[in-house]
């Protein structure tokens, strides 16, 4: 087994890029990170009525998230209990049941096995159908419209597990009394980089924004603006807690709102929102970039949320939505939708360049010698405070690696802790697990 401490030294703030390329580390992540963390599944607005479903992934495991007959939301492993075929091959839709296209085993919305062809002749009516339902995700809970699931039946409730990051999430999800909804449709694309590159960047890295995204800041600046006069903010904070984290500038109406344009800037800084959130949150955190550990991220000022699905050490699949306040007018919602695809997503004037960096960075990391050269995660090290008067968690300057270090601290802690014996997903104890759901 690989010695993780040899590759990650967060006290010194150095790390080997081995963590981005190693197959054994990746397999261990699927077990120890993805099979016990709370993972984002969907937004409640994607499941408007009984029978509504969306297909997604928890790590590399396909799951179906479904609104059941009683209105509750559940999630099941998208794999027939007979031979393992996917029972749902649509990305989204409405159905009464999930029928496997291989032999026809059919499951109800709650995952119960309801029909098996040739039950009498083939199985002699001896198959105990109650034991062969789709594997249920044992815990599915919502936080302000976001649905999360975990394979750990004994996990703490999602709100507790989210912890301090709700401070930032609330600036995104709770701006207006009616809550939020996602615009229909999803942008999906693949990037040739390890999933952690994106997750750590959204948690911690505002440092890259003004160089990597210089072209977007320039192009989106108002026509005729004197770019030499464009001053990028340098005052801001960054928090980390339980692996999650985010950063923000203290003046959210600065460079950010110049690119929003007058209509969206007015919505972003609406006094009613300001009052609801309070001075502290509205005076910075509202414009945050953030990651909810391990692979869910959002951008407050761009109304973008996304998941970085792991696809082997060398690739991630990005799923991205636009989130709007339900109470907002259709015109403003539509303006946010268009702004989101103008800035983020595969064609995004900002995000095109992230895809470029992560792909090249990943390729360099394959090098044997490159893997012996440590990466620097030292920015701001030793200057953290844990008793900030306004902000929860561990706080540092917006330009720091505070939340990246926090992300890998949590990552390391989970990676070094085996799953409980008998816990679903515990690879070393699989033989002892029951066959039932």
């Amino acid at each position: 087994m690989i010695d993780l401490d040899e590759h990650v030294d967060l006290e010194r703030g150095v790390m080997s890029r081995k963590v981005f390329v190693d197959d054994d580390i990746y397999r261990l992540e699927l077990e120890r990170i993805f099979s016990r963390s709370w993972l984002f599944l969907a937004h409640e607005s994607q499941l408007p009525k009984s029978g509504s479903f969306v297909s997604t992934y928890m790590g590399e495991d396909p799951v179906i998230v479904v609104r059941r007959s009683d209105g509750s939301i559940g999630a099941v492993l998208n794999s027939c209990r007979h031979r393992g075929m996917k029972v749902c091959r649509a990305d989204v839709g409405t159905t009464r049941a999930f029928r496997c296209s291989y032999h026809g085993w059919t499951y109800g919305l709650d995952g119960d096995l309801v029909s098996v062809p040739n039950m009498a002749e083939g199985y002699r009516n001896e198959l105990d159908m109650s034991r062969w339902g789709l594997l249920r995700v044992p815990r599915v809970e919502s936080y302000k419209g976001l649905i999360f699931g975990t394979w750990d039946a004994e996990a703490q409730p999602v709100e507790e597990a989210l912890g301090d990051i709700t401070f930032l999430l609330d600036t995104f999800l709770d701006r207006r009394p009616g809550g939020t909804e996602v615009i229909g449709g999803v942008q999906k694309w693949v990037m040739g980089g390890n999933w952690k590159l994106a997750a750590e960047q959204f948690a911690s890295d505002m440092y890259h924004s003004f160089l990597l995204h210089a072209s977007a800041w320039q192009a989106l600046a108002p026509e005729g603006a004197d770019l030499s006069e464009m001053v990028f903010p340098s005052v801001g904070s960054q928090m980390t807690s339980q692996g999650s984290g985010g950063g923000w500038f203290h003046d959210p109406t600065g460079a950010g709102s110049a690119v929003l344009g007058p209509v969206l800037a007015a919505d972003f800084t609406d006094p009613a929102v300001w009052e609801r959130l309070g001075e502290v949150k509205a005076g910075g955190p509202i414009g945050c970039h953030a990651t909810v550990f391990p692979n869910f991220s959002f951008l407050g000022a761009f109304r973008v949320l996304r998941v970085w699905h792991p696809r082997g050490p060398h690739e991630m699949e990005v799923w991205s939505w636009t989130l709007v306040d339900k109470d907002q007018s259709p015109e403003i919602k539509d303006a946010w939708r268009r702004f989101a695809s103008m800035t983020f997503g595969p064609t995004g004037t900002f995000e095109q360049d992230d895809g470029e960096i992560w792909t090249d960075l990943q390729r360099v990391s394959r090098g044997h010698i490159a893997q012996t050269v440590d990466l620097n995660y030292q920015m701001g090290i030793g200057h953290e405070v844990t008793d900030h008067p306004d902000y929860p968690g561990r706080i540092n300057h917006v330009y720091s690696d505070n939340a990246a270090r926090g992300f890998y601290e949590r990552w390391l802690e989970l990676m070094k802790t085996p799953l409980r014996p008998g816990q679903r997903g515990n690879a070393t104890a699989r033989a002892g697990q029951e066959v039932t759901r």
């Binding site: 091959r89 649509a90 990305d91 989204v92 839709g93 409405t94 159905t95 615009i183 229909g184 449709g185 999803v186 942008q187 999906k188 694309w189 693949v190 990037m191 040739g192 980089g193 990597l212 210089a214 072209s215 977007a216 320039q218 192009a219 989106l220 699949e317 939505w321 636009t322 259709p330 919602k333 539509d334 939708r337 268009r338 695809s341 103008m342 997503g345 595969p346 064609t347 995004g348 004037t349 995000e351 095109q352 360049d353 895809g355 470029e356 960096i357 992560w358 792909t359 090249d360």
Partner: protein, 174 residues
């Protein structure tokens, strides 16, 4: 014997429209983005909706609708912004620049008053850096308008034939 509907085309019109689309493709392949903007009308709508895998029963919903997520949902202003970005010489997704080759086929024309409804198939081959290869196949539904300066694109809907875009970004126009 059944026949599929296909009107006999005016050969001159067919040739004119095809030459227009070929010239446009050549311009984009040659990175003439600013000139390309000149082929669009002031009120152009340039739209590439997302798509999703749907069961055959719900297949009508496969393409995202007008108010739903799109990869491009642009007007002349936002397309100009995208071109300004490339011209900034700091747009790393196009620096070093990509090599692209556009193939336009299956051009079908339906005159509609002073405008032409034109469908075409487009294949864009993109190679950049050492090993980055993207192949985008798409159907296009254009509205071409006759102006004093010749044909101009008044509307373009691009149906990319991928649900998960198999590229780390889309830095090309269609």
């Amino acid at each position: 014997m059944n026949t599929i509907p296909h009107a006999a085309m005016d050969p001159a019109l067919q040739l004119e429209v095809e030459q227009f689309l070929y010239a446009e493709a050549e311009l984009l392949d040659a990175r003439g983005f600013r000139e390309w903007l000149g082929l669009l009308t002031e009120d152009v709508r340039y739209w590439m909706p997302t798509r999703a895998n749907r069961s055959i029963r719900e297949y009508a919903l496969e393409v995202a609708g007008p108010g739903e997520m799109a990869h491009y949902d642009d007007d002349l202003g936002s397309l100009t912004t995208r071109v300004r970005r490339i011209e900034s010489n700091q747009a790393w997704s196009e620096d070093p620049p990509s090599r692209t080759r556009r193939f336009v086929t299956n051009v079908r024309i339906k005159p509609d008053g002073s405008e032409l409804a034109v469908r075409s198939s487009l294949l864009v081959y993109q190679h950049r850096l050492e090993r980055e290869v993207n192949v985008f196949a798409a159907g296009r539904q254009d509205v071409l308008r006759r102006t004093h300066d010749g044909l101009r694109i008044a509307s373009r809907k691009v149906l990319l034939d991928q649900t998960v875009v198999l590229a780390n970004n889309i830095s090309v126009f269609f």
